[in-house]
Symmetry: C2
Subunit: 397 residues, 2 copies
Amino acid sequence: MKIENPNPIQWRFSERATQLQSSFIREILKITQQPEIISFAGGLPSPATFPVDVMKEAFDKVLTDSGKVALQYGPTDGYLPLRQWIADRLSEGGAKIVPEQVLMVSGSQQALDLLGKVLIDEGSKVLVETPSYLGALQAFSVYRPEFVSVQTDDHGLVPESLDNVAQGARLLYALPNFQNPTGRTLSLERRQQLVETCARLGLPLIEDDPYGALSYKGAPLPKMVAMNPDGVIYMGSFSKVLTPGIRLGYVVAPLGLIRRLELAKQASDLHTSQLTQMVVHHVVKDGFLDQHIPTIRQLYGDQCQVMLDAMDQHFPQAVTWTRPEGGMFIWVTLPKHIDAMALLDEAIKHKVAFVPGSPFYANSPETHTLRLSFVTVPPERIRAGIEILGKLIASKL
Amino acid sequence: MKIENPNPIQWRFSERATQLQSSFIREILKITQQPEIISFAGGLPSPATFPVDVMKEAFDKVLTDSGKVALQYGPTDGYLPLRQWIADRLSEGGAKIVPEQVLMVSGSQQALDLLGKVLIDEGSKVLVETPSYLGALQAFSVYRPEFVSVQTDDHGLVPESLDNVAQGARLLYALPNFQNPTGRTLSLERRQQLVETCARLGLPLIEDDPYGALSYKGAPLPKMVAMNPDGVIYMGSFSKVLTPGIRLGYVVAPLGLIRRLELAKQASDLHTSQLTQMVVHHVVKDGFLDQHIPTIRQLYGDQCQVMLDAMDQHFPQAVTWTRPEGGMFIWVTLPKHIDAMALLDEAIKHKVAFVPGSPFYANSPETHTLRLSFVTVPPERIRAGIEILGKLIASKL
């Protein structure tokens, strides 16, 4: 049946495909998943926080009560009761968000892809933070924009710096709460300035908020979407507050845009699992997250403190780092002459891993930066790993 | 907190987004889902075939045994044991397919999107059948190809017609088994000719096979991927043999291409639900589909026969239609002066619905064609609906 000696195909890839690159983090993870390595390289939430029994009961309940519906094709925009729940929750901040503005997606990464598909042409100017979330750079890159890095400092993005670069830009992508990779939080004053500046400039602002609920101390700051629902595109996710493996996120946008995103979603994968959406709705509808999220905050906050204490003790004075008030990451700035990529090679020999900072920069990488995650590493191993890393850095001074 | 009187954003969409269109079928479905309408418009599998209890037990088992793994982020290429199962099953035809060639996706529609992303530039020539699957036209359209329709007849695509049009084409997209929309099957001889022709021309051939297992009579014909694994890209799905709501499909391709598709998948949505993949593997690994698929074939085959019998009885002689040997669809050709779109408006007034054929044509639609699905309609309603439709058509002669 097999044909004889066929000509080998010369694959001709699209121009966008020739520049597709694997996420550097995903490559590092393959190396650092060996159990003897103390890995601060992960970006994964701690499985200790996954409510397995609650999920199991919810799958059982939904399949028992509504199996035939849950297992059938569903609407592209998503499961209405869950969209209503999201809209209601986002409206608590004072803005009026309606379910028609909510599109369910297969994890936040898909929202980034759909936004790129719908808003970015080849050469479009796209504004991102310095540094920015790697997954967003990767998703947008497919559509071949020109990235422009916007100035940031310890309080996050600097709104004043926008006026110089916003001309003709298609969007600004920002991650205001406990940013990946820096752990920084955009201050309340800056949020208001940023929303006003974007509104004045007519610049669409994407507020990516996967970690917003993971504030260690008190309530999170107000969301920017609540300050201007007509100009801000909000991205949320169940990955960090429930579980990531089910792939469920959402994007909230003004109606004109959300309809385009829905059409792009339909062409991309028809819709996100109806079963998953019904299960998550069953889990969250009676307030489960309000009990569950504090347990995640406690775990991550404690481990963050262990890492910060160990860094205070073991890191040389010439090194600086962020002190996150939530989320999963600490950002480290080494003396300029230390290349974090070279440091990683040595660290792995000493059984410690982290993510070098360079891949998080859209332009002009600062090679003396690195990202540490503390969420999946037990306290004693955090202390041991930080001590090793401190000595290694000290040896370079 | 809300800012005062912001300027409304003038959304500037990408060029590709300005031509995004909703699937005509999805629009029709909204109208025809009213229970009083006898709808032959659906493309959905029958929920009567969904093994709800089997799925429920599998979710329970996987979450009990491996909850923390199933709910964590997973690899982009997919859950290895399921990829191995797929590779083994596809290798039964004689070709040697390895799991590294299998990429798990969130339903076949995503495979179409990823193939478009990786293989199509603006203006690329893309060859499709006449008519072709609407979802493929929609997915590829986003990447702005020039579609070229390839000649077909009752035995499917005509391989001889390729030589005239293949020059410079990026790919040929074909659905050889019980095609959507025509229900036609590509004959064995044609399969061999087609694979040989594509190999000779260096033309990548996409074999989309969602319905292949749903053969009413005997074993399905050999897959084209088995005839030339180095030149054929195979797409499979669990939607029609298990359930569609879980969104699980796969694409099988030579290694050079599959790596690009994997990178595109990573940028698009990181990975497909690990939980879903583990559950499906648990369901299929011990041969469940071998008992289950015959029950679907029986149901669909019986209902297809009911519809064909009713058409023989009630449709005027001037009408012709396909006699599918599997799958979910019958394709009807009316006398040329009858416009199926206008007929639909009238049919809906008489409480019967179908899908007009025009949207399935990439070029030069034949407006006197239509698609009927029989899978979700009980026999007595099939007979009643076909009688009404027959009278309506007769009144136009």
